[in-house]
Symmetry: C2
Subunit: 342 residues, 2 copies
């Protein structure tokens, strides 16, 4: 099996996450438009993976530039197309900013050299993401005790990143230490990333995993069957307010009600230091068909009205700790996240 994202000379190869676990199909993207479409259609998803894919998308776009072209104008169009794919994940914009900085710093070079520099930058963002996740795992594993049952929501695993995962990176690291843990995976409607991706990943790695529907978590907590919750993040504000897959907020409220720790695992590039709190995080409303259909079949009255917010914001007061590659931040997050800033 290939990693989630692979750079292969003149193209980006992505595992098509819409088809997992039934089929293992790889998509080849030959230009930035194909990468943008793969992000929009969620063939690739997960905030860090979106960032890495977008970086490669920029690199692909630059490869099409011609000596006589309007480089700046073309670069802006590439950036705009990729920026407009999905609004919530901070990592997307972070990666695009890094690629723009690299472009601006090297656009005085010969075109061939500029092209190679952009590729190398995207590869470094990719590699850095895996290293970051290993560090998140290293710090986070100390929060997990032998014998615990860990609830996770959506997929913040190898598939959501360049590899290893954030929330699942912590789980992997604890498991690799020999801790006997058991993961409860929320199926995560509407797109079932928990049922399809988290179960698939953990099962492959022999980490014990139990699948539940999203509405079972509260019941299991009340029965004492959950020890802690850990999720990823799509964007974190200065104060720790965290946007993540729809349903995360409900799980956080339930964890608080049952006195359970609620951890967020995310790289520092998920943090949006320009936002004082989570109120300004844009929440993507996705296509109603995602809710209306399950496995391609209409599950309700065809013309029913539907809400489909893809994310929610968990206020910092529900979060026990945020696990980053530089260490674990506890409240007050304003202070403790800022101390990790470059």
């Amino acid at each position: 099996m290939l990693p989630t994202i692979t750079w292969d000379n003149d193209r980006v190869i992505l595992i098509d996450q819409r088809l997992l676990p039934a089929e293992e199909v790889y998509l080849e993207c030959l230009d930035h438009i194909q990468v943008a479409e793969a992000i929009e259609q969620m063939a690739i998803r997960g905030a860090p993976a979106i960032g890495v894919a977008a970086a490669y998308g920029v690199a692909l776009g630059v490869q099409k530039m011609e000596e006589s072209g309007d480089w700046d104008g073309e670069f802006d169009r590439i950036l705009t197309r990729l920026e407009n794919t999905r609004p919530t994940a901070r990592n997307l914009f972070w990666a695009l900013e890094r690629m723009k900085q690299t472009f601006d710093n090297h656009k005085h070079l010969a075109l061939l050299q500029l092209k190679e520099t952009m590729i190398q930058k995207a590869i470094s963002i990719d590699k850095e993401d895996v290293d970051t996740n290993k560090k998140i795992g290293y710090w986070g594993r100390e929060l997990i005790q032998d014998g615990q049952n860990i609830l996770t929501h959506c997929n913040a695993g190898a598939l959501a990143t360049a590899g290893y995962g954030t929330a699942l990176g912590v789980i992997r690291a604890a498991f690799e230490q020999g801790k006997k843990i058991r993961v409860f995976a929320d199926e995560t409607r509407p797109l079932l990333q928990g049922a399809r991706l988290t179960c698939w990943e953990l099962n492959k790695d022999d980490v014990p995993v139990v699948l539940i529907t999203d509405n079972m978590a509260g019941h299991l907590m009340k029965k004492g069957q959950i020890s802690a919750v850990i999720t990823g993040a799509d964007r974190i504000a200065q104060n720790g307010d965290t946007a993540n897959k729809i349903g995360t907020y409900s799980v956080a409220v339930l964890a608080k009600e049952h006195g359970l720790p609620f951890y967020v695992a995310a790289p520092l590039n998920t943090i949006d230091f320009s936002l004082t709190d989570g109120d300004a995080i844009p929440i993507e409303e996705r296509n109603q068909e995602e809710v209306k259909q399950l496995a391609g079949q209409c599950i309700t009255v065809p013309d029913i009205e539907i809400h489909n917010p893809a994310f929610d914001v968990t206020p910092a007061k529900y979060i026990t700790a945020i696990i980053t590659e530089k260490g674990i931040a506890k409240p007050p997050f304003e202070l403790n996240l800022a101390s990790f800033k470059d």
Copy 2:
């Protein structure tokens, strides 16, 4: 369209709720075994509807009795078969007790007369259920204000009862008063009673309804888009602890966290006065395939471990009021529910 359950001479006709809303198919049950299977397989579901169906099942069973047979032995076998269908809904056992009492009081009669008496008793349980729901609606509608958005979980509607519904009965009664309300329906995994049945029923009656996945309720509450929650019940203990469809407890915790009223609408025969609290309510664990499959399609890794509790228990402290046919009970429920007892 026929009602949820119809007695037609020598058979019981049930709308097959597994196929709604795609297909409107009616099942004919000719004996108590077929009724028991329809209950087990959830062709008919919803606590009050299960009670009514079971009463008709007993009546059907008695029709097969012969002059020379062991009436008491046969009756016990009929009762046992129906008792063993599903463990949680109180209404099932209540209806079977009523049918047994009727049998015991009339078994000195001629067989033909006994058979007719059993049919008439089942019909009266059926009719009584609709009257009860109208009364629940009458009392409950005062709790709903013009312009409110009401969240409901699962289906406690006409389909879950002999007609009109409990939670949806209250919604119907408020709507019939001219109150401009809007219903948010949790889809209710795994069997999607919200998406399939609640949306179908309310849509038919022109009550505005918006479908959401179960994990969106918290987000909508935080955004101020929900005014109150109302659900049905499968069994209520003396102290008000309420077993209902899995996920109800999570919604109740979320309602409390957001300062929203959480109402339970149920007939008095849902109350189990023999239980001091909800800890002793048996929670049915159903087949893993319900979570794993949708319309024959596997949505996860085929050999994954799955939990599938069909119900959870919401402790009384999360419940604002219980709406019954005799009026609205507020805490302390021990006292106020007991005052409604016959």
